[in-house]
């Protein structure tokens, strides 16, 4: 089928309409094409043959609403989305190790930069005596290990599952008596917990579990991307556990959200998006038969994120971006854990 989205663009530009940012829709569409070629096409939940490509999904997404104003607002949502691709996550994993993790280890061991053994000590501690684990199974811990050329530790359980099914004693025992491939003692002296995305912070119970293993066991929590509520909860947790440190890679500021309290820094576009999210919610939900429901119109815990990751769209993102129902087609359909 032809791209209806582009037919609309032609019509809008012919009528002299401009986006909230003052650009023509032809230019905006060209930006979306560029973003598709360079980023959006790696979106994993739509890689299957039963899914349409991004530009086709864009057309059907605009078809969700009737008025030209609403269609234009929807189109303008797309450049506001923060899309984190595979390469970005690879980079975040590298930056996590070379930045916060290394600095934390230097702090713990009180190393000095003029110490002639600095490099050797750091290498040893980073590679052999630090346990890198995901908070939840959505974090691709294997990628983290590979991109940083880390090895030597066979088990990398996600702490959310460990918290549910694990045994504190066995965990401590594993760390204390860990051996390397040659059977030599190689105790794990600290834990680094990594997570790809933290929205409202429900997975922080796993961080709490790790921090509670022992007050002498240093734990560093490194979320790649974290929302404001997640930051709040983490700081609260740090107040209770002195052995817990937190260092995010990307902390999203509140002006990047659309929810009851925020709308992209109170811009006209932000207000338009919020209004659209409100007026379309009943269509987004449809006949309630699609499960899970989108929690709220602003996503899970009313976060109102505009985040899409190459691996999936978080539930914290605005429902109109990711929810599919009998009356609503998603732009970046979410692959839900719980159905």
């Amino acid at each position: 089928m032809a791209h209806r989205a582009y037919e609309l663009v032609i019509e809008w530009d012919a009528n002299g309409l401009q986006s909230h940012a003052g650009r023509s829709y032809n230019d905006l569409y060209s930006l979306l094409e560029f973003l598709n070629t360079n980023r959006f096409r790696q979106y994993v939940p739509c890689l299957g043959s039963q899914h349409s490509d991004f530009l086709t999904r864009l057309s059907t997404w605009l078809d969700n609403v009737q008025s030209s104003d609403d269609k234009r607002t929807l189109m303008e949502v797309v450049p506001e989305l923060l899309f984190f691709g595979r390469e970005e996550f690879t980079k975040l994993h590298q930056a996590a190790l070379s930045g916060p993790v290394t600095r934390w280890i230097i702090d713990l061991l009180d190393l000095r930069f003029d110490d002639p053994n600095l490099q050797a000590t750091l290498h040893k501690e980073t590679h052999f005596h630090t346990w890198y684990c995901p908070v939840s199974d959505s974090m691709p811990i294997g990628d983290f290990y590979h991109v940083n050329n880390l090895g030597g530790i066979d088990h990398r359980p996600d702490f959310r599952s460990l918290h549910k099914f694990g045994d504190i004693g066995r965990v401590r025992d594993y760390m204390t008596h860990h051996e390397n491939a040659r059977g030599e003692p190689s105790p794990l002296n600290r834990i680094v917990l990594l997570e790809d995305f933290v929205g409202g912070g429900t997975q922080l119970e796993a961080v709490e579990f790790a921090s509670g293993l022992s007050p002498d066991l240093p734990v560093l929590f490194v979320p790649m991307i974290i929302c404001p509520r997640g930051v709040e909860k983490t700081r609260a947790l740090m107040g209770r556990y002195g052995n817990l440190r937190y260092c995010p890679l990307i902390e999203l500021s509140s002006d990047l959200f659309v929810n009851r309290n925020e709308c992209l820094g109170n811009t006209a576009l932000g207000q338009a998006i919020r209004q659209l999210a409100e007026t379309t919610y009943t269509h987004v939900v449809g006949d309630n038969s699609s499960k899970p429901l989108p929690y709220t119109l602003f996503g899970f815990r009313e976060t109102g994120a505009l985040v899409v990751m190459y691996s999936n769209t978080p539930a914290n993102t605005l429902a109109l971006v990711h929810h599919e129902s009998n009356t609503w087609r998603a732009l970046f359909p979410r692959s839900a854990r719980i159905r």
Binding site: G99, R103, F113, D114, I250
Partner: protein, 333 residues
């Protein structure tokens, strides 16, 4: 290899316990005095010299003067001495004036130097850093860069000059043409697009894209990439992510892209300052050409406030040389 960097306090604590000589730049931005202020508070500031660099007269001049007064007032109130300020004209200062001035400053501030590039235009910090790297008298060298809380949504700078070498970076002469152009991607083209459009169609263009970086920045950077690719075949470009705060990351990337300097490259540092510092160090070692379109006017509110990192001012500090040992070098087989 780990090249230490982090927040100023943290780096100073773990570096040789010396008094540091500071060469910085007092500009219109609040963050231009962050490093100076913090070093004084830590009690490790020795001698210092601050450049003051005058833009060309513009529609911003009145506002710039106001901001400078605010900075000067703060500087004096906190014990700053005007006799350690050296004034330059942004555009008219010749290489000779810059070189002589900075050489004199470096001599006066000792052998343990902190070069604060926060508000220093590239026209000045590139030669300054080069001179530091080439000086055997400097035993310890740190570079500081204070991140901003936010940036103006308006254009950061105006009226750029033509594409030209940065002072002291016209490159070692060779008949061999460079094999690639390496561009540090920033917010704005500032004449870069013009140059990319007119570059040799077959010549690879390597884009050093700042990521991780704050989301507002990263969106603007993608827009910049899109514009750069508009009139060129897309296979000419290769994009590499580089942590916007991490000089070492950028430097290592340049080593890999150029096969440890065996492939001759030209540089165009339009991105965040740490990435530009990485390019500066690399270009100094390899004798590469560095091009830039120097703006004549900077927005007086180029940045607003100072970013905070874990509750403290985000004064990122990078160890470049420690105990006479250069941490940035190119491995030779």
């Amino acid at each position: 290899m780990y090249r230490p960097w982090g927040i100023l306090d943290w780096v100073i604590k773990r570096s040789p316990p010396v008094l540091w000589g500071l060469l910085g730049c007092l500009g219109t931005e609040e963050r231009s005095l962050s490093a100076w202020t913090r070093l004084r508070a830590l009690g490790c500031l020795g001698d210092y010299r601050m450049l003051r660099i005058a833009d060309r007269p513009s529609r911003f001049t009145q506002r710039a003067r106001l901001r400078l007064r605010e900075r000067m007032s703060f500087f004096r109130q906190n014990g700053g001495r005007c006799k350690f300020l050296h004034n330059y004209d942004l555009i008219d200062a010749t290489y000779g004036e810059i070189e002589t001035g900075i050489a004199g400053d470096l001599k006066n501030i000792g052998e343990n130097i902190i070069l604060d590039v926060t508000s220093m235009p590239k026209r000045f910090f590139f030669p300054a850093l080069r001179m530091c790297l080439e000086s055997a008298d400097i035993h310890n060298l740190l570079v500081t860069y204070t991140a901003a809380h936010s940036y103006t949504p308006d254009k950061l700078a105006e009226n750029c000059e033509e594409w030209a070498h940065l002072p002291l970076f016209s490159g070692t002469y060779t008949r061999q043409a460079s094999e690639m152009l390496i561009v540090g991607v920033g917010f704005e083209g500032l004449g870069l697009q013009e140059q990319v459009d007119h570059s040799n169609p077959g010549k690879p263009i390597k884009l050093i894209f700042p990521f991780p970086s704050p989301p507002h920045s990263f969106r603007r950077a993608w827009e910049c990439v899109r514009k750069l690719q508009k009139h060129k075949a897309s296979d000419v470009f290769e994009l590499y992510h580089s942590d916007y705060r991490d000089i070492s990351d950028c430097f290592d990337r340049l080593i890999s892209i150029t096969d440890a300097g065996r492939k001759r490259a030209e540089f165009a540092p339009f991105g965040p300052k740490p990435i530009s510092v990485g390019m500066c160090i690399f270009a100094t070692i390899t004798g590469s050409e560095v091009y830039y379109t120097q703006p004549k006017v900077y927005h007086p509110d180029y940045s607003l406030g100072v970013a905070v990192d874990d509750g403290v001012p985000a004064i990122y500090t990078y160890c470049i040389r420690l105990a006479k040992r250069d941490l940035y070098s190119i491995p030779r087989e």
